[in-house]
Amino acid sequence: MNHNSGTDADTVRKPVIDIRHLTIALPKSADRAHAVKDLSFTVHAGETLCVVGESGSGKSVTSLAIMGLLDTGIRVASGEIRFEGRDILTLDAASHRGVVGCRIALIFQEPMASLNPVYRVGDQIAEVFRIHTDLDRQAVRKRVIDLLGEVHLPDPQKIYNAYPHQLSGGQCQRVVIAMALALEPAVLIADEPTTALDVTTQAQILHLIRELQQRHRTAVIFITHDFGVVKDIADRIVVMEKGRLVESGPAEAVLRQPQEPYTRALLAAVPKLNPRDARPNSQPLVMEAQRLRKTFHSGGRRLAALDDVSLTLRRGETIGLVGESGSGKSTFARAIIRLVETDSGEIHINGQDITRLDGKALRHLRKSVQIVFQDPYSALDPRQTVGTTIAEGPVIHGMPAAEAGARARDLLAAVGLGPDAAMRYPREFSGGQRQRICIARALALEPDLLIADESVSALDVSVQAQVLDLLNRMQEQHGFGMIFITHDLRVASSICDRIAVMQRGRLVEVAEPSRLFRHPEHKYTARLLRAVPGTTEEVAT
């Protein structure tokens, strides 16, 4: 189609956003010259374009470039970003604000971070009207309350006067969406808007975006790494890798018949909802938690994080702990490893009650229970070499330094990193590599119980698959029992022998995946299963 000719507008539907040969340069110190290289795509009114890619693919940079929010040092080197036919890169600051502020809206991943904590949410939305329209106070208030109702927030009057911290993550994201839609923008850019939310909340937010889009015929650019989400909402898909467009096309075509190997690899790495049976296991119990209770008190409010939770685990067994944020799954893990003290209940590790251990006995116990955290970036001491980090556990428990060093090098090889990695610092490694280092550190003590607390959640899908595979292999080799905490039921379904579902501190259901997915007994489990993105057809089979 000929974009330059105005007369074609009548015959060909004109795109709202038309990006042509966009190249964004990175500063010299970066690991590559361009964040985005020669990128072209279009978005039409009423259409949802999903931009998919792993971290570092340049998908977020592209959205920031459209908004004119690029960090200093990063600049558009060449190309055009046309909005309704005008290249917005050539606009001066004032007209850019007029176009971008009113007509293009952006939603970020972290809803809490996009709201100012010291203002009432209603006033924050009202500010949008005050800046861009000349409505009077009453009219603005009415519009805001209408908007809050439109994003299905209960009791808009009350929400208007609430502060962000009084709302849940999902409610905050609804407020952010209301704010983004306040001026009826032509384009809505959503940068991983549901990644920080629970599955059930995610499903609701996706539904909301869909619904609002159809009502207002907004063009949506939806940036995500999650193919499940893509399946649910995309009309068209753009796949990006390292700043380049790999493949684009209608959602059906890209998902069903991906042309490029990279797209195929990405799709293959997506965790499948593949409920497995429990492996037969007659080994001794490694962990036995009985009637654990823990209540947090904050500002007069009581939060029951653990409410009478009992669970057992055998050697060589993997149990998945799933539930929404705040359901108590992390508290459970931290109680088992004694990072959190329980109010009552007993925890037996290898038959020994550990709830009352302290000092030397507690430190000795730590040898047998290890944890791998969610964020591999903060979990490693930045000032220690990787070799020292991995060897530290054995050294603490009395192994000679030379022997511990040798074990560290063996483990590095086992987790797929070269022996020269031992001399390097954590910052020289990628997220996936760091998570391997964390796993090696935990395994260096040859634990009987390994807790993986959302250990793959922060990783890209392809890396996620590798790390899961590594955990599986290590378990086969060493035979430890594993508690696998995740919010992703697809992951849990494929690697766990049993899945324990938690809700508000209670364990509502424990079953092997194959049974849990076919016949969920608890209402909440069923709701959780329904909310898994992109699985409508899979569950049926």
Partner: protein, 279 residues
């Protein structure tokens, strides 16, 4: 690190380096002891201002060579201030670490002491202690150490609390490390940057404090001398022999400014919210 250093900071380092070199080489440059009097050459102005090359910075009321005294006083002032700063930093950090480790009532009690220290006018504490115990070098150093320790305690407590909550600290704990190991091998190296910045910001204040006390005749006592004391010597001669006070005053100013500049630069460099990760 050197490549990213702005020229002003390089100049500052160079200046400090020159000051130290000159102070160390002073005995070779001028043949006078700090107490050598020459009553025939009293109150001589500096060279080029009517003075003679024998006394490049002039002489004081007893005909003592200002340059020699300045070089010696510089060493004393800097040594006392350094010792005081280090002692204060170690003590304050220890208090901060202890408060952060034990939490609960121990933390509240320690932090209350910190608040009390911060609410007392320091010069009053100094005068009281001096009145009770009399002048001595040891007491002067102790006073320097006492100055500003509460800042380290507050700072250390805060950064330790946030560092302990980091996953890497939890990971080390779950490996079975003792608190000693956690604090000294993991936390301390990671918060060192912040503490060093605090040192560079406190040091100039301590130099000034020492000068003020010595100027009042309460700090370093003869026959030792310090920058503040030389300045105090010139108090009565400001109108006739300004150089006795002004030259040491200028040196104090340069040291304080130079270290402050370096401190500000370090803070900007080490603050993760201003720059990319330090490493």
């Amino acid at each position: 690190m050197l490549r990213s250093m702005p020229w002003s900071i390089r100049l500052t380092f160079l200046l400090l380096f020159l000051l130290v070199v000159v102070a160390l080489l002073a005995p070779l440059l001028t043949p006078y002891g700090i107490a050598d009097q020459s009553l025939l050459a009293r109150l001589k102005p500096p060279m080029y201002l009517g003075g003679v090359p024998d006394h490049p910075m002039g002489t004081d009321r007893l005909g003592r060579d200002i340059f020699s005294r300045l070089a010696f006083g510089f060493k004393v002032s800097v040594a006392v201030a350094l010792l005081g700063t280090v002692m204060g930093a170690v003590f304050g950090c220890a208090v901060g670490f202890i408060a952060a480790h034990f939490r609960g009532w121990a933390e509240e009690a320690l932090m209350m002491v910190v608040d009390m220290q911060a609410s007392l006018p320091f010069i009053l504490i100094a005068l009281t202690l001096l009145a009770f115990f009399g002048n001595s070098l040891a007491l002067t150093v102790m006073l320097m150490a006492l100055y500003g320790w509460e800042n380290y305690a507050r700072l250390a407590r805060g950064v330790v609390l946030s560092a302990v909550a980091q996953p890497y600290a939890e990971a080390v704990t779950t490996l079975g490390a003792t608190p000693w190991r956690l604090y000294f091998r993991h936390i301390l190296p990671n918060i060192m940057g912040v503490l060093i910045v605090q040192v560079t910001l406190t040091f100039p204040q301590i130099i000034l404090l020492e000068s003020a006390l010595s100027f009042l005749g309460l700090g370093i006592q003869p026959p030792l001398t310090s920058l503040g004391q030389i300045m105090g010597d010139g108090r009565d001669y400001l109108s006739t022999a300004w150089w006795i006070s002004v030259i040491p005053g200028a040196v104090i100013f340069i040291i304080a400014l130079a270290v402050s500049l370096i401190g500000d630069w370090l803070r900007d460099r080490l603050d993760p919210t201003l720059k990319r990760e330090f490493g």
